[in-house]
């Protein structure tokens, strides 16, 4: 069969190209330009080479923020992914319960980030918040604004509350795509509940899980608003993650050069991880086709 080629279709890509150029490529170029200069104002700037990169890469505060960020992101993934799968497995498959659970699960996803931060800020307070008050009533000395561990737990629980639904919904969609014949065959073979999960449900959820992990990784690695509203990065720097560190550097101290260099390092980390995930997803897709 002769393949018809029509290169005019490329013109349809032009609007997207312009949008990406204006919203991503040109700002990125500007950040690169800023990262090699000491800029006081648009007319007064000095070329400094790789000085900002050296400063940023050797900054112990940034190392600490990076370690905190990695621990936070891994904690989020280790809690939300298994929990999301577990909840998805318990959801009803037919009847009115399906719609009711979908609506309930979608609710946290509809709330804006800063509102989530405010809800948990009030909820966790020992004087006026229900959560903080009850925990203190139980005899646990809980105060997220003074105790770093309490702040960490609160930020983590907030993220789990906000985003586990996403994993649940993705997994549920994956589970719904499994034909009944698979379950019937497993029943005839006398497969255990674990075997059904391991050899039928988990493989079928693989692609959606990779997407879920990728989304949660990127979101949690770039998290800013919720911890900013909830703890302001404190107590001390206990919950200061990379985005907040960057914002403090760029907007608070107006150190545009180091902030630009740091942005590029940050960008490269995210680019690498996204590429690895993208490659895994594409290869998994190809394996499934085969």
């Amino acid at each position: 069969m002769n393949k018809i080629t029509n290169n005019k279709a490329w013109f349809l890509v032009l609007p997207v190209f312009f949008i990406v150029a204006i919203s991503a490529i040109i700002p990125l170029m500007t950040v690169v330009n800023y990262s090699v200069q000491d800029i006081f104002d648009p007319q007064t700037r000095f070329f400094v080479g790789t000085e900002w990169f050296e400063q940023v890469l050797g900054d112990s505060r940034l190392h600490d923020a990076l370690i905190r960020q990695i621990i936070y992101t891994l904690s989020v993934l280790f809690i939300e992914i298994p929990l999301g799968i577990a909840v998805a497995l318990t959801l009803p498959r037919k009847g009115w319960g399906v719609s009711a659970s979908m609506v309930l699960l979608a609710l946290p996803l509809l709330i804006p980030w800063n509102v989530v931060g405010t809800i948990w800020q009030i909820f966790g307070r020992a004087d006026i918040g229900l959560g903080g008050y009850v925990i203190n009533l139980l005899g646990i000395d809980y105060n997220y604004s003074q105790n770093p561990m309490d702040a960490w737990v609160t930020v983590l629980v907030m993220d789990v509350w906000h985003w586990t639904s996403l994993i649940v919904l993705l997994c549920y969609a994956g589970l719904r795509s499994i034909p009944d014949a698979y379950y019937q065959a497993a029943k005839i073979d006398g497969a255990s509940r674990w075997a059904v999960f391991r050899f039928i449900q988990l493989p079928k959820m693989q692609s959606v899980l990779v997407i879920g992990v990728l989304l949660r990784f990127m979101d949690s690695f770039m998290i800013y608003t919720e911890p900013f509203v909830l703890t302001g990065g404190g107590p001390g720097n206990a919950t200061t993650f990379l985005s907040q560190f960057l914002t403090r550097m760029a907007v608070g101290q107006f150190d545009l050069g180091p902030a630009a260099a740091f942005s590029l390092v940050y960008f490269l980390i995210i680019l690498l991880v996204c590429w690895v995930f993208y490659t895994v997803v594409m290869n998994a897709g190809k394996r499934e086709e085969q």
């Binding site: 500007t30 790789t50 990169f53 050797g58």
Partner: protein, 90 residues
């Protein structure tokens, strides 16, 4: 364009990237890439290998700045060698 705070070095850097992309586009039109498997643990096209080599080059430079005091051009030579190796045998 002055708001973008261009410097001659960054202008040359981006010109090289753009020329590389144009060159790859022309190369693709003249002789379309065939996905193959080299020493990298995945099947790659020419564009994939360029991306991997550029990303690797960026990390080589960052690692160089973070862990050594040796002149940066030595790191750049290593990055260039990495680019050639990945493009040819990757």
């Amino acid at each position: 364009m002055s708001w973008m705070a261009w410097t001659p070095i960054t202008a040359v850097f981006f010109s090289c990237i753009i020329l590389m992309l144009i060159g790859m586009g022309i190369w693709q039109a003249v002789s379309p890439t065939v996905p193959r498997r080299g020493f990298l643990p995945l099947t790659t096209t020419r564009g994939d290998r360029l991306f991997i080599s550029l990303l690797g080059a960026a990390y080589i430079h960052l690692g160089w700045l973070a862990f050594t005091d040796i002149a940066l051009w030595v790191g750049s030579v290593i990055a260039l060698a990495w680019l050639i190796i990945v493009m040819r045998w990757g």
